[in-house]
């Protein structure tokens, strides 16, 4: 049964609209937890060395019509298709990072930089340590910085306020996410909000860097 949490507006605080409806297929706007990204596989002697990053939460960015067609063609849902024209090779996702950790710039501190072995450090967005956020951070929460999209979840979803980092998008196998979604589905961003995310993502990808 669908429960649409929708949007709450409490004293001017805007929450993103979410739903706990779980479709059989992967949908645009799905938030799935513990998604693994294989960053490297190397064959050394008689071994395969595998290196992966586990992302606590990711959001699916691929267009929903593509995902729907893929599911239809993959499993012949509406009819027996004569070809596999609409099947996807992979789909695009982007990680969610906890806003509090983004503010401190330590949201990737558990990943070591391969060249130095030191924890990765991102930009500290506090004026002073433990002090107020910078104006850049405030702009990020207003979605005025193209790289980030701020998500303030209603309390029914146990994800803290987060940022989608469009720069860190990656691809994932469709079957892998489909199987993972069965047990690791968290929620789905409602259509209007996911369209806004999609529009901002495509705008970020197609940005032109002028000298």
């Amino acid at each position: 049964m669908e429960t649409v949490v929708g949007v709450c507006d409490i004293e001017g605080e805007k929450f993103v609209g979410v739903s706990n409806t779980k479709d059989n297929r992967v949908c645009q706007g799905d938030i799935i937890k513990n998604v693994k990204y294989i960053e490297k596989i190397a064959e050394v002697d008689d071994y395969l060395e595998v290196s992966m990053i586990n992302f606590p939460y990711v959001i699916v960015l691929s267009q929903d019509c593509d995902l729907s067609e893929d599911y239809d063609f993959r499993y012949n849902k509406t009819k027996a298709h004569e070809n596999q024209d609409k099947i996807l090779i992979s789909l695009l996702v982007a990680p969610l990072y906890t806003a509090e950790q983004v503010l401190a710039g330590d949201h990737l501190s558990e990943l070591e930089l391969p060249s130095t072995g030191k924890p990765m450090k991102m930009q500290d967005l506090r004026k002073e340590k433990g002090k107020k956020p910078t104006s850049r951070y405030n702009l990020m929460t207003l979605n005025e910085i193209p790289r980030y999209h701020y998500l303030k979840f209603p309390g029914s979803v146990t994800i803290s306020d987060s940022f989608i980092d469009f720069k860190h998008y990656f691809s994932a196998n469709v079957n892998y996410l489909e199987q993972l979604k069965e047990k690791n589905f968290v929620c789905k961003i409602n259509e209007l909000y996911r369209e806004a995310i999609s529009q901002r993502f495509s705008s970020y990808l197609s940005r032109i860097g002028l000298p």
Binding site: E11, L48, I53, N54, P56, T98, D106, L111, P154, S156
Partner: protein, 66 residues
Amino acid sequence: MVETRVRESLDYTKSSPSTTEAKEPPGQLAPIYDIDPGTGKGTGKAEYDTSKPTRIKFKVKLIEEL
């Protein structure tokens, strides 16, 4: 002669429960979110997952190619 109308004061803080709400047991009416609707502040009751991305490395011994 001036007519004086006395209007019954309304307490807007006490709204009548809707039909649906009235049928629900009291426990079902509890807010499901971690926000105090009165103040708009977080109550701190929900447990949020704030884990960070981690790297996993392992080796797999090749036995034979498929």
